[in-house]
Structures are given as structure tokens and as C-alpha cells.
Point group: C2
Chain length 707, copies 2
């Protein structure tokens, strides 16, 4: 028996710290096990009681005359390590430590947590928690509520993993009180040992789980999570993963030397990771469960074209508004569909989408209209609005919707816009596994989430290209040179050298140390020329007048060299002078910014966006986690709001998107090959018209303190 | 007695078409009047019954031996006109026509509706409907449910005016089933006579109404609505107005000749109008009622700084995320506040915002924490999160929150994150008029709406400047010239002439007809020069190469003139040649677009935004309805996402925002003075640095077909 089986399906459980004291956690856990039909044997352990809730108690786990798979531990903090050692000695495979007072308190608490972890390791058992709510397995073969939650969810195909006990409690109440049945519930607590990845790996193969929900405050190991989530998405039987990651705004101010670094918060990293591995990120528990029930009960749509059937015109309009707001498209009904509707509905009905069956509609009109739109090949999913009117029999309408939708393999969601006398109609819908919502916006939002998931998951495999035409040694030489001088900021010629070594479209350049050399270099490279200051101390060249553009002859170049020196001397008198960089001016193209910022947890984040004001003010950039596949490099470009500026609009030709994507992929390889890089801006990276490539015009690289 | 008093507080009501037939509207209306304690006298009118529901029936309204103020009409469509005439003859002041089958069906229906309206006019009575649900007045002095709605709302200070019967029904159910008490409910139906403006005018002065809600599908008279809503906002006792305007996406494709016209949908007009008159636009019924209860029960916040008190850390983080997403700021608690919290709470509690009173908190900790944050001058409002934990007594917590918040004049909203056993705690909160929500996002969204309203309403009066330095005659001359030639597209020199006449910062120009004239004009105006084709047939000059920039000497100008002719001949051989326009090139500045598009219902919509790609791709523009006040011209500029590009960033000086605002105000005056203008683009309008004005570089004007 694996440790995860021991947690979810133990043959025997010891509840260490079980008590009969009212309103105590130790009682709540034991009562939940007894009260919800656990199929194995539960042993209360309490040295000061003969029995707990009429069940014989044992002074210690050692005294239990049976093999115990799982221990649930609710003892005072300081005794936890000793208890775990005893568990280890008696062959317990896993422990759920519910006791709190560890890392969540900071300081001393973290030390205690480390002691608990070490005790578990010594005892050879795996650990869930500490500071957690426990686990629930609704599988009737097991029926274990090993938690102190006040409710037991109904069985269902949705699994929930929560990093917060209170959110877990709220979610269990919601699942119980409303309509989502759960397969498994896990409260991971402080994640001292087992974390979300262990449970994702388990749920991936759990036949009773069809949808996986997470409430996360952080990821213990993002790249493992990425890997597992990709595997889930690649399974034949899709299991949608939905996640709340809270703490969007928690990051606060950080010091950054580059544009990319300044924009790369940890929340961008989570957004990127979730997008790349097909996890649907949602913002609230309400959304999480609204979506979960739709994913759990209905087939995925093939596209995002929705039809609406309503008995109230105003609500049809509101649903249309909401559908388009959430990214659905109102389906254009086929001529045949509209004729079918016109034949069956009264003349005043609307046979266009939204289909209005009118206020006096009975169930027959609903059945007819729903059948007609479901049969339309241009419809991917349907939202049915049912409002109570004088003639409406909500129960009969629910039954007609249930019967009709059962004959099609398309998702149907119902908005039951009533509060009184709806238990019976809602029960019919629940029985038929048709998700029902109170407001049309909720139904539209959930159907939109299904369509987004259906269109994004799967797709080509995440194949990361490896470029062979790269010169690692050249990069290493540049890095060694900078390290020898203890520099973290690379000079621009060094940066160009690195990008050239990795096959980026750099421009020819000369690094010159005098006005004469500059003029000669410009003559060799061609006019018009550009001259830029090179100094380890000048990072914001343009701000101090350290860049001279459009130099048309050698005399101008010589003068410009002298002006640069003066500009630097005036603005930063203490700056070391390291000469200047000469290039031929590039032809005009579309300015973009490409960058990288290394996150301590996620590794290198890649950034791409339009340059100039677009990045400065509109922050129209996309982050993705390295490594990036070719497909995802292209998606990154397409996902920009300003994408039309690259794809071409109003007769402008498209930019060389192939070249842009390749720069992204090469950057991904470079920053994974060398852990030295902390932040980079290639700004601007100019993209020329289609087929004409790109050019790195300027670049900044900052190294990590040490590797 | 006014006709609105006759509708809301009639001394006697005739229900014409009352019947005893089950499940009929005629029965439902009469039963509602009888069953909900109407304080006046109700007379059923039915020629085929001696009594209706045990009340003596009259064959006609003429037979009623009493003065009837209000008739509620539920007779077959074709008899409605005759009934209204009879009502008029007997002195009835107003009629509510519930009967449907009119304009909502289109075609014939509209003719019938006109007949109904004419009958009412002949009879001298005012008309609500047809095709409406009726009215409800919960004032205990009246207690009239003159509708066929299935529920009677509790009395409260929220009024609701709905243009959709079904939305009205749903809203009444929601108000009844949940927690919002209503003062008045009006279903306006087809608005043949009375419309939302009549009721807004009434509710403005209704002492029982504190919050006004609208569900609208259109506005009958936007400028009257604007005027009334501004008056409501200027009253000492604010009455927040919240509106759903559905049909955001209904507009569909429209033909437009200008950028402004292409971007100006009717939805932009509604957004603009609501913003300018202080109406809070919301998207869903859920939001409408979530907000309504907050506005109805709690004082407005003085700002947008929120404190959160929670017994669950995870939910504190989620609330923080939601608060910032909806535009609130997490308050920084004062040192003294944090000390107070540290003294009263256990060491593991978080005394920073969000304040975590811990999972084992009882009501005393809630009381202490809430008092501390409410007393903090840096806190404008508080969200309290209460989750059920083992130790929590939700009732006692609710009572503590109610008691504490009653001692402060700041809004407190509660998120009661539980579904079981919450009737009692919720009743305590409702009794204390503390809004309560199930999810933290809902509470955050409603508090954010309150803050947005508080910060936006009131403010300086809507004073529209009138510029005296304008030359109306000059504009009229240009228009007359174009009209004489039956042209709807003005030539660029004509457009510049118009803007010059209205005091816009135009550049000197010459309209030349030969290469020689062009060169001479350029020499007079100064180099570098710009040359642009003038032709009534060339609208997209740049697209055909019809603009020549940076001409440095007379020879270049002459050559450019000839090239322009060739370019036009090549691209549009049939285009009439009307010469060229010569200007001195303007110095560089920030490019903006200013425009106008005339909406058939709203009149001129003004548009302002950043130029170039910003408008083409990002559509970062703001619309407002003319006339515009100085304050609102400045707000329009500030509300752009790209505002930092005008205000100055990274050391760039600010642009001349004063000049930009004045252009907006002058455009407002111009387009209201002359109804001839259909669409305009001033593109680019270049704004120079602060104090240096602006310049209209190019302009397009289209006239209306006829005025």
C-alpha cells in the first residue's frame, strides 16, 4: 500500500488525540470518521480515557493490536515529533498532522515544523500538514471523513485540494449546501512534506475524479506542477484543472534594473505557468464552483458559439451581453433551424438567437426550441433561461430541458431565475446533471470557461526546440570576463557578443576607444551610423544623452564621440569611460521589447511586447515561463493586445513573426543554458517586414550576484 | 391629485378586466390589490360577472359610484382604446395598461399602440404601459400592489423602475426572497406615454426613496434623463442611481466615414451619459441588488481605503485581491491602531491589514478589531469576514459587528461565508441594516461601487463655458458653399477654416492650384513645408500617397506638387483635382485624436484619445456627450489609459493639457451650434509641451445628409 493509498483508503486509522470533549478538534475528527460510515477500523488513541464516544481507546499507537495505515494526529504541538516516531516504529505509512502552531506563526514555529518533518523522516512515514483540516474520500468503498470539517460532501467527480483550512471549510459547505459532489478533499496545510504535486499526481490517475480544483497560496515546485498538469491535459480522458491562486497583489515593490524585471511580478509567473500547462485560473470560490459543476456534468463544447433559449426577452439581451463579455460568440442559427422554430413557435416569438419562446411558453415550446438549436451544427452550447410566469410550470420545463439535452452531446446550462418554489425543478436538473445558476451571467461565464478550456487544452505537444548553431564557449568567455571584474552589468558590446553567439539577429558593431577609431569604424560599417557610450557605470544611456543617431559622415562621428565623452562627464563625472560602440543604423521596423527576469521559484520568465510607450504605459506584454515551445512562442506574440500592429493592419504588411518567435525560443535556450543571467532587456528588438528578419538594436544584461 | 400620485397613491382604483378565472392576469392583479392591504377602494370592472373574488363588480367604469383616480386595464387589445375613452369621460387621471400585443410585436402592433395613446390623449389621462407588469407602492399609507407579480416586496428605501416585465419579476423575487426592501416598483412596458424620466422626476422628491434602480433597454429622452439625474446628484441628500442598460452588443455594424464614427456605438453614448450625470452603470441583476443593499443601508465612504477583519487568513488574501481588483486600496493602519490590536489579540494574530483575528476568535475579538479599524482615520470602510469554525458563534459575532458598527459613520459590509445555520446571524445583520454577502468578492465589489460613487458624484456644477471669440458667420459660409455643391465631405482647407473660426489652434495654410503657387506659398510660410492633396473625392489621403512631408526648398515643393497630381491620377483617376494645401511643418508634439459623431438620440458624442496605433489598435479613447464642461473635459483626458503619455513620464515634461481641454470645449460648442456636422476627426491634434498650445494638423468633416 502506497502512502497516498494509506491517506485516502487506509484499512485502519488511528486518531491520536481523539477526545470526547465537546467542541474540540479531537472529538470532531473522530466523530466524523464514525459518523460518515468509514469502511475500515478506527482506533482512538488517548492515554487518559478508556473509550472515546463508546469506542475502546488505546494509550498509544503502540498498543493497537492491528496494522494501522494512517494516523491522524491532534496532539499538543510539542508532542507531535514523539508521536510520529511511535507511528514510524509501528509501521504506520502516513500521518495527517492537524495540530497547528508551526511555520504559519513564523520564527520558532518553523523550527518546530522542521522537527516534525525530521521525526516523520526518521519514522519512515509521509506527512500531510501540519496545520491542516484533514482529508475526505467519498468513495463508498472507503467513505472516510478524516477531517474536522462540519459537513460531509456528497460523492461526485470533483476533487478539491486546498491550501487554506478556512477556504476548505467554506468550499465544503458550498459543495454540500449546493450541488457539487466531491470525490476527494485534501487540506494540505503547511505542506511540510506532501504538497499539491503529490495529490495532483494521485488525482491524475484516480478513476473517480473528473475535475480537479485547487485553492493555492503558492506552488511548492512550479516545474513539477507544470509537468504533471501537462500530463493531465495530454490524457485521452481530459480532467480539467481549475485553480485559485490568491495573493495577486501581495508581491509589493521590488527592486529591478530592467523593464522586464520591473514588470515581472510573481503573479505574472503564476499566470504564465497556468496558461502554459492548461490550468484555468479563476478569481473566486463562486467562480470555481460555478465552473466545476459545468465541467463535472456536461460535455465540453467544440467551440464558443452559444445559443440562448429564453421566455423573457430582457433576460435574453442580458445573457447576450454577458456571453460576449466573457468571450462567447452568439451563434448564427441556420436557415433550417429558424424555419423549424418558426413552425413550432407562435408568430410573436423570436426565432433568431437569442430565441424567445415568449412569456406564456409551456414546456413544449422549450423542448422544441432547445432541440432545434442543439441540432444546429453552428451551435456549440446552449443556455436556457427559465423565469416564472403565470403559465410556466417550472418543473415541467426542467423535465423537458433534461430530456431534450440528454439526446445531444453538447453542453446545456440553465439559468433558473426564480427563488420561490424551485426545489423541485432544481432537483430535476441536478438529477439530470444539468448545471443550473440563478443569474444568466453565471451561466454565460461558466460556458465561456468550458469553451476556453476546450479550445486551449491538448493541441500540439510541448516540444522545445534546441538550436545547435550556438556558441556556448563564447558566452562563457564573456561571462568569465565580467565575473573577473566583479561586474553584474554587462557592457553593451558584451551583450551583443552573447546574443550573436546564440544566433540572434545582431548588427555588426565595433567597440572603439577614440574619435578617430570611431570615424574609421563607421566608414567600414556604412552610414548613417549610430554611436553609443560604453561604460560599466552608465545604464540609462539615453537619459544622459549617451546615444547619437543618424551620423552621416566621418566628421559627424568624430564630433559625436567627443560629445558623448562630455555628456558622460557632465552627467556622471565618476563614470568609468570604456569607449563607444559604433553600428550602422538599422532600417526602420516595428519596435518590440524582449526580456527575461529570473524568478527564484519559477526560473527564467520570458517577456515579449511592443516597445516604447506600449510597454512603458500600457504594459502590453506577455510573460511565459522558460522553456518555451515554438507553438507557445507564437501564441505569446498573438496574445498581445497590440498584435495587429505586428500582424499588419490597414494595408501594412505583416512583420516577420517567424523571426520574432525564433528570438523568443533562442532566449529561452540561452537563459536555461546559463544560470548566470538575472535580468535582460533586448530593447528595442526591431522586427522587419515578413521574410526580412529582425535586429537587436540595444540590450541590457544583469548577472546574478553569484551562481 | 397629479397623474403620478394617481398612479402611486390613488384613493380608488378600477381594475378593468378583473376576472375570477384561475391563472389569469386579470385575477392576479385584483388578487394582489385585495391581498396586500390596499388602503383605498378597489372596484373590479367586468360586464359578465356580478362579483369578482366576492367584491361587487361593475359592468363599466362609468357605473362606479365613486371618483376613480387610477384604472388598471387588462382587456383584449382591440378594446383598450374604447376603455381608455370611457376612463377619460369619467375623470380617471391615469391608466396602467397591462395588456400586451402592441409595439413589442412590430408592424401592426405599433399602429394599435398609437391608437391607444391617442385614446388616452383624447380622454385627458396619462398612460403607463402598455405591455407592463404594473406598479407597487409599499408605503403603508397606500400599500398598493397594482401588478400581476407573484410576490409583494417588503417596504424599504429602494425604488426600482424596469423596462422588462420578466426582469422586473425576477427582481421582485430577488428583493423579496433576499434582503432588499422596496419603496416603489414600476414596470414601464412599452413607454407609449410615461417613461423612465417621469418616474425619475417623481422618485427624486419621494421621501420614502433613498436609492433608485433602473433596468433599461433604451432611454426615451437622454438629455432629459441627464438633466434629472444631475439634479438628483446635486440634492443635499444624495440618492444614488444605479442602472443596468442591456443590449451592449446589440448595435452591430454601422457605416462610418471617420475614426470617431467607427468607434462611436450607442453603447459608448450610454456609458458617456451615465458617467456624466453620476449614474452608476452595472452589468447584472446580482450586482444591482448587491450594490443596492449597500447603498440603502450604509453611509457612503469618504474614500476608497478599506480594512478587512477576518478569522481566516486565506479569505483575507482573497478579499485583498478582490478589493484591489475592484479599485479599492488596502488601508495602511495607523501605528496606534496596530498597537490597540496587538494588545487585544493573541500574538499569532495579524495586526496589519487584512487583520486576522484567527480561527478560534470569538465575538470579543471581532468587536475589538472592528472598533480599532473603524476608529482609524485612514480607514474609509470595513469588510468583515466571518467563517464558521469550531469556536465561532456566528450569532454572537453578528451581534458584535452590529453593535460596533452602529457607533461609527463608516460603511461596514459583512461576508458571511457559511451556508448552514445562518438564518439567525443573517437576521441580526439585516435588522442592523448591515449588508451581508456570501462571497468576499461580492462585498468588495459593492464597497468599491460605493467609493466610486462617493468620489464621483457631486463635485463642481456642470458649468458649460461659452466662448465668445468664435465666428459663426465664417462657419456658415463654408457650410453654405459645400451645400451649394451638394458635398457632404468638406475639403481640408474648408475644415481648417471652420476650426480657425472657432478658435482652435490651426496652422497657417495656403490653398494652391499650381506647382509655382505651391513653391511660393511654402517660401512665405517657411520651411520645412508639407503639401497635401485637396479633392472632394480623396478621403484617405495618406493611403494613396497624397501627403508630402519635410519639403526643404521651393524646388522640392514644386516636384512634390507634380507627384501629388500623379499619385491621385494613378490611384483615383476619376477624382476631381482641387489643388493642394501648403503648411509649414509643425514642431513635434504628442499626437492625439479629437472627434465627434452625431448619435440620432444622444446628439453629438465627443471623442478624445491618443493618436496613431493607440486609437487604431488599442481603441484607447473616451467618449462624452456634448455639451461638456471644463471639469469634464479634463476628466476625459485623465481617464485615458494612456494619460501618462500626456501628463509626462520618465522625466518627459507634461503636455499642454489646458490646450487639449479647450479644444474639447470648443468642439462641444461648435457641434451644438451647427447641427450640420455628422462626423469629424481632428487627427492628429498635436499637443505641445505645457504652455505651448496645440495644433490641428489634419481634419476631416462630414456633413449630415440634410438638416
Amino acid at each position: 500500500m502506497s502512502y497516498l493509498q494509506a491517506i485516502f483508503a487506509p484499512r485502519a486509522v488511528a486518531v491520536i488525540g481523539a477526545t470526547s470533549r465537546p467542541a474540540s478538534v479531537g472529538r470532531a475528527v473522530f466523530a466524523n470518521i464514525l459518523g460518515h460510515g468509514y469502511a475500515g477500523v478506527a482506533y482512538p488513541v488517548n492515554p487518559r480515557a478508556a473509550s472515546i464516544m463508546s469506542v475502546k481507546a488505546y494509550p498509544s499507537v503502540r498498543d493497537i493490536p492491528d496494522a494501522v495505515d494512517l494516523a491522524i494526529v491532534i496532539v499538543p504541538r510539542d508532542t507531535v515529533p514523539r508521536i510520529l516516531e511511535e507511528c514510524g516504529e509501528t509501521g504506520v505509512k502516513a500521518a495527517i498532522v492537524i495540530t497547528a502552531g508551526f511555520k504559519e506563526l513564523g520564527g520558532e514555529g518553523a523550527v518546530h515544523e522542521q522537527q516534525v518533518l525530521e521525526a516523520a523522516r526518521r519514522g519512515g512515514l509521509r506527512l500531510l500538514g501540519p496545520n491542516c483540516l484533514g482529508v475526505i474520500n467519498t468513495d463508498p468503498q472507503v467513505s472516510l471523513n478524516g477531517s474536522f470539517a462540519g459537513v460531509m460532501p456528497l460523492p461526485g467527480n470533483v476533487a478539491l485540494v486546498s491550501q487554506s483550512g478556512a477556504v476548505g471549510t467554506a468550499a465544503l459547505e458550498y459543495a454540500h449546501g449546493e450541488r457539487v459532489g466531491l470525490s476527494k478533499f485534501v487540506s494540505v496545510g503547511n505542506k511540510a512534506d506532501l504538497n499539491e504535486n503529490d495529490f495532483l499526481a494521485y488525482l491524475k490517475d484516480d478513476p473517480l475524479t473528473g475535475v480537479i480544483l485547487f485553492y493555492l497560496e503558492d506552488l511548492a515546485d512550479p516545474s513539477r506542477f507544470f509537468q504533471l498538469a501537462r500530463e493531465v491535459g495530454e490524457q485521452e480522458q481530459k480532467k480539467p484543472i481549475l485553480a485559485i491562486k490568491s495573493g495577486r497583489t501581495a508581491a509589493g515593490a521590488r527592486a529591478a534594473s530592467s523593464h522586464t524585471g520591473a514588470l515581472a511580478g510573481s503573479d505574472e509567473a503564476y499566470d504564465a505557468l497556468f496558461a502554459q500547462c492548461g490550468v484555468l485560473r479563476v478569481e473566486s470560490l463562486e467562480e470555481l464552483f460555478d465552473h466545476a459543476v459545468a465541467f463535472a456534468w456536461q460535455p465540453l463544447p467544440q467551440g464558443n458559439r452559444v445559443a440562448v433559449v429564453t421566455n423573457a426577452g430582457g433576460l435574453g439581451i442580458m445573457t447576450t451581453d454577458a456571453a460576449e463579455r466573457y468571450g462567447l460568440t452568439m451563434a448564427s442559427l441556420a436557415q433550417a433551424t429558424m424555419e423549424k422554430l418558426a413552425q413550432g413557435l407562435p408568430p410573436a416569438a423570436s426565432v433568431r438567437n437569442p430565441v424567445d419562446v415568449l412569456g406564456d411558453a409551456r414546456e413544449d415550446r422549450y423542448g422544441l426550441a432547445l432541440e432545434a438549436v442543439l441540432a444546429d451544427p453552428g451551435v456549440d452550447g446552449v443556455i436556457v433561461i427559465s423565469t416564472p410566469q403565470l403559465m410556466t410550470d417550472l418543473k415541467a420545463v426542467a423535465a423537458a430541458v433534461a430530456e431534450t439535452s440528454s439526446r445531444f452531446d453538447k453542453p446545456v446550462l440553465v439559468c433558473q431565475m426564480a427563488l420561490e418554489n424551485i426545489e423541485a425543478p432544481l432537483a430535476i436538473l441536478t438529477q439530470a446533471r444539468i448545471p443550473h445558476y440563478h443569474f444568466p451571467e453565471e451561466a454565460a461565464r461558466s460556458l465561456a470557461a468550458m469553451a476556453r478550456y476546450a479550445l486551449s487544452v491538448g493541441g500540439p505537444a510541448y516540444d522545445v526546440k534546441r538550436f545547435a548553431d550556438v556558441d556556448k564557449a563564447a558566452v562563457a568567455r564573456v561571462l568569465a570576463g565580467a565575473r573577473a571584474e566583479k561586474r553584474r552589468y554587462l557592457l553593451e558590446p558584451e551583450a551583443h557578443e552573447i546574443f550573436r553567439a546564440y544566433g540572434f539577429p545582431t548588427l555588426p558593431f565595433r567597440w572603439v576607444k577614440s574619435a578617430g577609431e570611431a570615424a574609421q569604424a563607421a566608414a567600414e560599417l556604412g552610414f548613417p551610423a549610430v554611436l553609443k557610450v560604453v561604460s560599466p557605470d552608465v545604464i540609462h544611456k539615453i537619459d544622459i544623452g549617451g546615444v547619437k543617431l543618424s551620423l552621416h559622415h566621418p566628421g559627424e562621428v568624430e564630433a559625436a564621440y567627443r560629445e558623448l565623452r562630455e555628456a558622460v562627464a557632465a552627467a556622471q563625472p565618476e563614470a568609468r569611460w570604456a569607449g563607444a560602440l559604433v553600428q550602422k543604423m538599422a532600417p526602420p521596423g516595428r519596435e518590440t521589447i524582449l526580456g527575461m527576469s529570473r524568478d527564484p521559484l519559477f526560473g527564467p520568465l520570458l517577456m515579449f511586447g511592443l516597445g516604447g510607450t506600449y510597454v512603458e504605459i500600457f504594459k502590453d506584454v506577455i510573460f511565459r515561463v522558460a522553456p518555451i515551445s515554438e507553438e507557445w512562442a507564437h501564441r505569446m506574440i498573438r496574445d498581445l493586445k497590440g498584435y495587429p500592429a505586428l500582424a499588419g493592419y490597414r494595408g501594412q504588411p505583416p512583420a516577420d513573426l517567424e523571426a520574432a518567435a525564433q528570438c523568443l525560443e533562442r532566449l529561452s535556450q540561452l537563459v536555461l543554458d546559463f544560470p548566470d543571467f538575472q535580468e535582460m532587456d533586448l530593447n528595442p528588438l526591431v522586427i522587419f517586414n515578413e521574410g526580412q528578419g529582425a535586429a537587436v538594436l540595444d540590450a541590457r544584461i544583469f548577472l546574478r550576484e553569484e551562481v
